[in-house]
Amino acid sequence: MAELGRAALVVAFGLIVYAAVAGGYATLRGRRRLLDSATNALFASLGAVAVAALVLVAALVRHDFSLVYVADHTSRELPLRYSISAFWGGQQGSLLLWLLVLTGMGSAAVALNRRLIRDVLPWTVPILGGIASFFAFMLVFVASPFTTGPAPADGVGLNPSLQNPYMMAHPPLLYLGYVGLTIPFAFAMAALASKRTDERWIVVTRRWTLASWAFLGFAILLGAKWAYEEVGWGGWYAWDPVENAALMPWLIATAFLHSVMVQEKKNMLRVWNVVLVTGAFALSLFGTFLTRSGVISSIHSFTQSSIGAWFLGFIAVVIAASIALILVRLPVLRSPTRLESLVSREAAFLYNNLFLVALALTVLWGVVYPLISEAVRGFAVTVGAPYYDFFAIAFGLPLVLLMGIGPLVAWRRASLRALGASLLWPTGVALFTGTLLLAAGAGSSPAGLIGYTFASFVLAAIVLEFARGTRARRSLGDEGWLGAFAGLVGRNRRRYGGYVVHAAIVLLLVGAVGIGGFGTEQQGKLAPGESVRVGSYDLTYLGSSQQRGANAVEMRGSFDVSRGGNELGPLSAGKNRYLAEQQVSNEVAIRSDWLRGEDLFVIVNQFNGDGSVFVKVLVNPLVNLIWLSGLVFVLGSLITMWPDAREQRRLARRFAYAPA
């Protein structure tokens, strides 16, 4: 069946190249049928790629070890669900996933806007084709998932750290985010190429951008949860280049989501928006490159890959072409409106953008600097958490403050007196909370205390916004409080959904500050019967045991937890030794206390011959707020994205004067 897979990919490659070349020619020369044909080619390529994907899934499920990819990433004892998720466990498979999502989303975006594209944005088809042709090229000529070889008796198996539900979901969600950013990019470039300066491309791609951004953010948090539970060092984010790879496009996409609001309302920042969307797309390509090419370990690589150079070349071409197009269209693109006041909502969005971009650039520098250093000076450097933490605080805290102030500022020119009156209550709440926390001992981490104070400021501002809006709406009609609230949110989904997302970020901040600034830990050797005290917990080691799981030998140390004399229950932590993969994984024990909002985190570092263990125990305050924030984030995103019939009608009316 490998031949079918390979053939399907070749067919897909041909279709995609046709879509790019024929689509480009059709657009240049204005040929309707040819453009339709190119569009059909894009749709058909989805079918071909889907066939290839199905072939790979079938091979994985049947453990067809004649395929090198299957032998490299599965084994006979691997549970079925992980055999399937091995699809994206390796390089070639994840490239195929990229192409599948790209052709899928691209086809959907084009199909939903078919008339618009044909009449107004015809360049969308060849641009999408051009981007997809890179991935198709890689899959056919450089990194095929369907290379065959002599079938071994059993496969190598899947990396144990990937054998959990998080890593089943994380890559597909992440790719929905990465690839999704292609859509606004393609539409933006198509608009530029067609000499369009209106915001049509923003309006039609808004939900795509929102959805991709939401998927990306959620995937990042899912990855963090995986790191917390599976890698299990006690923390949740290590500023690892692989983590940063996804964070950078997310930050730029956040900036973009804010600045398009300025373009829609005030027709400003038009050049900035196309620059941002290009940046977001380029960074998502760069993120894929970082994670997949193994370049981060070192240029004299610990892992080797041929696709790295290709990816870099592609990214360079994309950036160069985009810059060229922007420069060519600069005269028509320049916004007619100017910023009038430094204290206005436009200005607040501008500051927000500047901080977000600054943060993204510092993360980028932290990732790239070691590579440059190695190329230039001959030896690498490692950029550690202190660098990132410093800038996260330096740029992050003002951003948090802006989240609170921004919504309270009016457009164009804010009246300072009204602003001051609006800020009074949230500031009061913040100061009160800050003082309370200081008295409770939060001064041990000054940055943490400031973070908490700002967080309460923003939360108070958000509550104020909801309250004032509901009251204003209620004063108009005869709705009760609940009706007014529902009506308020229903009529202004983007605004209030956005506020919910802000609240999610604040929750994230509170959780991050809790675990980062106010945690405790202990390390030590425990013989059976001995105990250690961490925070308010007493942990007693009882003994260790060993048993055979599905594809691993599981060694566990048993512990008893109590607090102040009260029994809280048993915990077990230890290690799994995977048989086929010959690797050992860390299996930590986490006890979440929802009332006190903290986690007890137990790591067994080593089982000693004499029956004792080396343990590391941490107390992580408020860490579960981080996971909760993920859910609130999704809720807020859904509210902003929810289809609005009234808005659809209004837009239809607007474009009634023109076709589509």
Partner: protein, 134 residues
């Protein structure tokens, strides 16, 4: 407040300057990055560095008590350096693996900082296993 001329450009320029200032302040105060060297490059640097290489047998001692002793060799070379390490040992640590430790040379032996041992995963897509102190 400027009327005709947009303050936007001024804002952007000032922000870039401010960001640069913050950046320079930080790197001059905190240093931020440490060189990551191979054993053959160790002689040319003093102070705290990260040392990366291949673990050579024999492994002596205990990382949790007294210190784990081993030699680290250039990934593509022969020069090896003795290392003593205390702290958590990642699960993937073994003779022949690529690892990295942070520390400094004292009396001809590379004394590693506690819990700074990191292994590099040989397979294509798996993050490094970490043993971190926070």
């Amino acid at each position: 407040m400027p009327r005709r001329r947009s303050p936007a450009r001024l804002v952007v320029a000032l922000s870039v300057a401010a960001a640069l200032a913050v950046f320079l302040l930080y790197t001059s105060l905190a240093g931020g990055s440490t060189p990551s060297l191979r054993p053959s490059q160790l002689a040319a640097h003093s102070g705290t560095v990260s040392l990366a290489g291949v673990v050579l047998s024999p492994l002596r001692g205990d990382a949790n008590e007294g210190g784990l002793r081993f030699r680290l060799r250039d990934v593509n070379g022969t020069r090896a350096v003795p290392v003593v390490y205390t702290g958590s040992v990642p699960d993937l640590f073994a003779v022949g693996r690529d690892v990295s430790v942070r520390g400094k040379v004292q009396n001809g032996i590379f004394v590693a900082e506690r819990d700074s041992l990191v292994t590099k995963c040989p397979s294509k897509y798996a993050p490094d296993s970490k043993s971190k102190s926070s």
